[in-house]
């Protein structure tokens, strides 16, 4: 009996040391990792809609309104969609124009199978999203009809579904959010007119 208690305690000691080390490294690295992530997200937004300033809007999903950095005209919206893929969360950043058509997408975070699911980051895959509306976001294997659908990556249908379906859901939510916001602004403007 005593020996088992002893073994348990030794194992516990190893765990305590390992956990303490991990916690320490985590406190050292997490602010730095967060900083890099924020910078990267900003760079990706600029890449998707160049020459713009971004205004953050929080709600059910957080999105950014892209405004031309000279004229201030609204060019579109940028948001991040995420869903579980084959091996973890797949995060995709997408830019929409004012009519909610996709301008470009970029898979920013994924841990899919190297050589199969990782092909989702390739332009060969992401380029087919250009110009699509949320109705056209359906994977060909789920009954989509070319060219109004997304062609699945060979050997990575689940990854394809994660990207496509997460974008579809997020675009629809975003649409509602943007329309509600516009309605609200118009209402306030109208009220101001009346008050004058």
């Amino acid at each position: 009996m005593k020996i088992y208690l002893q073994l348990g305690l030794i194992l516990l000691a190893f765990c305590v040391v390992a956990t303490a080390l991990l916690a320490y490294v985590n406190t050292l690295t997490s602010p730095q990792i967060q900083k890099i992530k924020t910078l990267e997200a900003e760079a990706t937004r600029r890449e998707l809609i160049p020459d713009s300033d971004f205004e953050e809007v929080n709600g059910e999903i957080t999105y950014y309104i892209a405004k031309d950095n000279k004229t201030g005209e609204v060019k579109g919206y940028v948001f991040t969609a995420q869903k579980n893929g084959y091996n973890g969360t797949v995060k995709t950043m997408a830019a929409l124009n004012k009519d909610f058509q996709i301008i470009a997408i970029k898979v920013i975070e994924q841990t899919e199978t190297p050589g199969l699911g990782t092909n989702s980051t390739q332009p060969k895959f992401t380029d087919q999203f250009k110009g699509k509306t949320s109705e056209q976001l359906i994977v060909d294997k789920d009954g989509g009809v070319p060219p109004n659908c997304i062609k699945a990556i060979t050997g990575a249908t689940i990854t394809t579904r994660a990207v496509t379906n997460s974008l579809k859901v997020s675009i629809e939510t975003l649409k509602k959010q943007v329309l509600a916001r516009t309605a609200l602004t118009e209402k306030t403007q109208a009220e101001e007119e009346v008050n004058k």
Binding site: I10, L11, A18, V25, Q32, T111, G115, L116
Partner: protein, 196 residues
Amino acid sequence: MSFMKELTKGIIKENPTFVIVLGMCPTLATSTSVNNAIGMGLAATFVLICSNIFISLIKNITPDKIRIPVYVIVIAAFVSIVDMSMAAYLPALHKSLGLFIPLIVVNCIIMGRAEAYANKNNVINSIADGIGMGLGFTLSLSVVATIREILGNGTWLNIRVMPQTYDPMLITLLAPGAFITLGLLMALMNMLKEKK
């Protein structure tokens, strides 16, 4: 055994993939392109060397009965520390190798060498064993990946080697193709050995 002998045994005589048949899961997953194979191989080599050093250092204070859980704790903690520090301080390297880190945790070569070698030998020899096994793993992964990438994609290290008209054998990129390639290579290795 001398340092050099320990170093070279992992490359052919005790090749982790073809002879000891360890680490099959990452082998199948990352041998779809030579790029991935080298990335995985080098990342695994690094972790293998470090975990061998660690295990060898603590071999006298680890009770025999609970050595396996201790290895699991040491390896998992070590891999997480590498992952976090790399993400924070070497973001560029983390982008290309970060994908393989979670795969290394489940790589049984590391566990296998801890149990079969580092546990019984001194630190210097364990380092040699780690380097040798790591290089052997990288090499055999690259060989499998070379065959799979050329046949399945018509490229080698992303450079086109097959004529444009070549219709890629997609199956070599999928899991069955990995098993077939691996099986044929193992048969070849055994045939060469018998002849000797």
